[in-house]
């Protein structure tokens, strides 16, 4: 009788441990395709950037040496005023920040800087583009480097920023147009054609905040085309850090970020799991021995 009870309790413990391991394995293995997520392999994911050597952080501004960091902030959701304050502070300490993502995010960022912002529409360029009018080529004149922006958009920006100095850094080509009257992906008579500013820089003390009005810059689909610019931005020994604070509230995404490292599953996780399993097994066998 005693033997039976011992066997059934052992089986239950084994089942619980196996279920827990399976759940963790699934979370680690199964792909998550959130936009701008570090581990996402989708068009707007950042998996390639991570493989390119970037690390990620859910709290990037704490304890980071701004002078040695290139911070990539790409988001879907608008930025809060406190987050913006931290970002500007990071920049003023000598940091280089590249911000891009959804229209809502860049709009909130520019508004937070004290600018008046009106959205005009998506910018398409049938001539200076790569395979699609939505993958628009933009020239950075200083190094004669071209950047490919995935789905850029344009704002009418007026006013002066509360801090720093704003500059138009890059325009689309003279052949681009704003798909504004009807967002149908083709030109409609009356839609404005010409050069439109899509990259702005804000100098704050010794740092710089680069705001790119595009849905993708260092994302998977255009990273290869923009790697030269990334190198340029990270020159001087800056390490690339990808801001993932947006995913702090998403349990699944956050947990995955905790247990996975750019090189695979976290050694810390393996250690913790091993300890847990050993403790459980020891407990179960010692109990069995007593009985």
């Amino acid at each position: 009788m005693l033997l039976r009870r011992r066997r059934s309790s052992l089986l239950a413990v084994y089942l619980v441990v196996l279920t827990a391991l399976l759940a963790i394995s699934l979370i680690v293995v199964l792909p998550v395709d959130y936009d701008y997520y570090a581990l996402s392999t989708s068009e707007k994911g950042h998996r390639n950037l991570v493989e390119h050597g970037a690390s990620w952080s859910t709290s990037p501004l704490r304890g980071v040496d701004a002078n040695k960091t290139l911070l990539v902030v790409a988001r879907r959701t608008p930025i809060s005023s406190s987050e913006l304050e931290e970002l500007v502070d990071f920049t003023s300490r000598g940091g280089v920040v590249v911000a891009y993502g959804s229209r809502e995010f860049t709009e909130s960022l520019l508004r937070g800087l004290g600018l008046s912002v009106v959205y005009w529409g998506l910018v398409l360029d049938p001539v200076f583009s790569e395979n699609s009018p939505r993958r628009v080529l933009v020239e950075l004149s200083e190094r004669n480097t071209s950047v490919t922006l995935n789905t850029p958009y344009v704002f009418n920006i007026t006013g002066t920023p509360s801090r720093g100095e704003l500059e138009h850094a890059a325009y689309t080509s003279i052949f681009s147009f704003v798909d504004g009257i009807v967002e149908n992906g083709v030109y409609d008579i009356g839609e404005p054609i010409g050069e439109f500013p899509v990259i702005y820089t804000l100098r704050v003390n010794s740092g710089v905040l680069v705001v790119v009005c595009a849905q993708g810059v260092f994302t998977n689909s255009v990273l290869r085309e923009n790697s030269e610019w990334l190198k340029l931005l990270a020159s001087g020994g800056r390490s690339i850090v990808l801001d993932q604070s947006e995913f702090e509230s998403n349990i699944l995404a956050y947990f995955k970020l905790l247990v996975v490292t750019p090189r695979g599953v976290s050694p810390l996780l393996v250690l913790v799991l091993s300890v847990v399993i050993i403790v459980v097994l020891y407990y179960v066998y010692s109990r069995g021995g007593i009985e």
Binding site: N67, S146, G236
Partner: protein, 586 residues
């Protein structure tokens, strides 16, 4: 710190994009097929070109190397090549007159390209852009080039040329005045249209020379079909100090299409006379041809027609080559001295000429054997009537006065049929007259037959039907188990002849005795002996009756299974004995 500052410098000087820098970018655009976009870019380039803005040249250079829809590619390249040639000439300080004159011809391709883009775009605004390009931008560009030609060929102090500035008309005389100084000699005056020399006049004068050229008649110009202003080049050849010089001037002439009208009734019946009236308000006498155009082709009605200011009427019998339906009268006038060749059309509908007949039938017909009457009345002439039922020819008859054709709707009691009657004129004078109707026919004979057969079938199946309905009603109700049992009993009774009919008269006698005695009959799963032991023995108390029944059982078994069949009489005796025993008992 120093490194960081250098970096900032690099990043911050991400300066305003210079258009020329982008040109070197490794672009790989998808071929452009958006015609609205292409025509807008073309207009932009031409606007810049007119303003001598370098951006027009940049656009032309980029667009020249940009893939577009294969159908447009050739015109696209030629158009932007012409824009680049224009820039090459205006940027050059030593452009040759021949290049300039060549460019004037090249620029026409832009008009063709704009027209192609207008055709392939569905947006309304494109028409306005195409019009701006062809009516304003392109003539202005040409005018620039012509000014350059004049300017480059100007020989101040050596040769002075004077031509009329006004817009001329075909046939007009063009007085050309040439003044040359002592060192020069005027050789000839040429009139050119594109690269073709239309007229040449040699000078035989010393200093003040004059010549009269004439604007060619419209009939001598090829490729112009609509009212337009044509530019001619006047070239004055002269020699100065043994060197040949050429001075260019441009003159304009207006060529117009003639004002011609054609009048005819919009609708006419085949065989009638069609009156067509033509005239012109141009004050000219024009020669031409009158045709009829329809689905079969284009055929001449009058191969030579003279049109003047007096309206002239021509009558035509509306027969071949006219067809029943839509036709168009097409009047084409040849080019005259003043006017260009011109065609105009007027549509007319030719209606068929039906025979004077009337066709009538009933929409619902109730008859003995499904006859459908079709009444046809001819007011004049003899025709043939073809009657179709559901597309099948069922009757054909000649009709000369009043005729009734009776057709049969078939054996079905009720039919809905598509009736179509075609009246044809054997002489071909009239067109076919077609009458169509949907007829409902009731065939009483087959209807009665069906009803009768149905009644018989109903009677035959009545009992079965009752049982069926009864079983349906009772099968699912627990409360009606009794009824169910009753149904089972009735069913058993009903099937008794089949289940108990029994190949043995002795057995039938045995069953009759059992029924008389009120003993239940054997089930299908019981042998006669089992039934006897279980039921008969327990129910029948009188031993003589039991024994008699036992004997009957044995006789029945022999009758059923043995080769030696017992006599029926033996069983009947036993049957009588049992009956008397019962009577005694009662």
């Amino acid at each position: 710190m120093k490194k960081s500052k250098t970096l900032l410098l690099v990043v911050l000087v991400v300066a305003v994009t210079a258009a020329s820098l982008l040109e070197g970018a490794s672009r790989s655009p998808r071929p452009i097929s958006d015609c609205s976009y292409l025509i807008t870019i073309l207009e932009k380039a031409l606007n810049y070109a007119l303003d001598f803005d370098y951006r027009g040249e940049y656009i032309a250079r980029v667009m020249l190397n940009t893939p577009v829809d294969p159908k447009l590619q050739d015109l696209h390249r030629k158009a932007y090549r012409a824009v680049l040639d224009y820039y090459a000439i205006i940027n050059s300080t030593r452009a040759s007159l021949d290049d300039m004159r060549e460019l004037l011809g090249e620029l026409d391709v832009i008009e063709s390209y704009a027209s192609s883009l207008q055709r392939c775009s569905r947006e309304r605004g494109v028409v306005a852009i195409a019009t701006r390009i062809t009516r304003h931008l392109l003539p202005s560009l040409k005018s620039h080039v012509e000014d350059l030609v004049k300017h480059y060929s100007e020989m101040p102090g050596l040769v002075l040329v004077s031509v009329p500035e006004r817009v001329l008309e075909p046939g007009d005389q063009v007085p050309v005045e040439v003044y040359v100084n002592d060192t020069c000699r005027a050789i000839s005056a040429l009139l050119l249209y594109k690269d073709t020399i239309l007229e040449s006049v040699n000078f035989t004068c010393s200093s003040n020379c004059s010549a009269v050229l004439s604007i060619p008649p419209a009939s001598s110009l090829q490729g112009i079909t609509r009212s337009t202003t044509v530019k001619f080049t006047v070239v004055i050849r002269a020699t100065c100090g043994g060197r040949e010089l050429r001075v260019y001037r441009f003159i304009e002439a207006r060529y117009a299409t003639p004002r011609v009208t054609i009048d005819a009734p919009p609708m006419i019946t085949r065989g009638d006379l069609l009156a067509v009236t033509v005239n012109t308000t141009s004050g000219l006498v024009l020669a031409g041809v009158l045709l009829v155009k329809n689905t079969v082709g284009e055929f001449p009605l009058l191969s030579s027609i003279i049109i003047n200011s007096t309206p002239t009427t021509y009558d035509f019998r509306v027969d071949k080559p006219f067809v029943v339906g839509a036709n168009a009268l097409k009047l084409c006038v040849n080019a005259s001295e003043k006017t260009l060749p011109y065609c105009l059309e007027k549509g007319i509908i030719v209606q068929p000429r039906h025979p004077r007949v009337s066709v009538r039938t009933t929409t619902a017909s109730i008859t003995r054997v499904g006859e459908i009457p079709v009444y046809i009345t001819s007011e004049s002439g003899e025709y043939t009537a073809h009657v179709y039922l559901n597309g099948v020819l069922v009757a054909e008859s000649r009709v000369s006065s009043t005729e009734t054709i009776t057709i049969n709707s078939g054996v079905l009691p009720l039919s809905v049929l598509n009736l179509r009657v075609i009246i044809r004129d054997p002489s071909g004078e009239h067109d076919d007259y077609v009458y169509s109707a949907v007829v409902t026919s009731i065939n009483m004979a087959s209807l009665l037959l069906v009803l009768f057969a149905g009644s018989l079938a109903t009677l035959a199946l009545r009992e079965h039907e009752k049982l069926f309905v009864l079983s349906l009603r009772t099968s699912s109700t627990l409360a009606t188990r009794r009824v169910k049992r009753e149904v089972a009993r009735v069913l058993e009774e009903f099937l008794k002849p089949y289940t108990h009919k029994l190949k043995s008269h002795i057995l039938e006698l045995y069953y009759t005795i059992l029924t008389r005695l009120g003993v239940r009959l054997p089930h299908h799963y019981e042998t006669l002996r089992e039934h006897y032991s279980l039921v008969v023995k327990s129910v029948i108390k009188k031993s003589s009756v039991r024994e008699a029944l036992w004997k009957v059982v044995k006789l029945a078994e022999r009758d059923l299974y043995s080769r030696k069949k017992p006599h029926l009489k033996e069983a009947e005796d036993l049957y009588e004995g049992v009956l008397s025993a019962i009577e005694e008992e009662t």
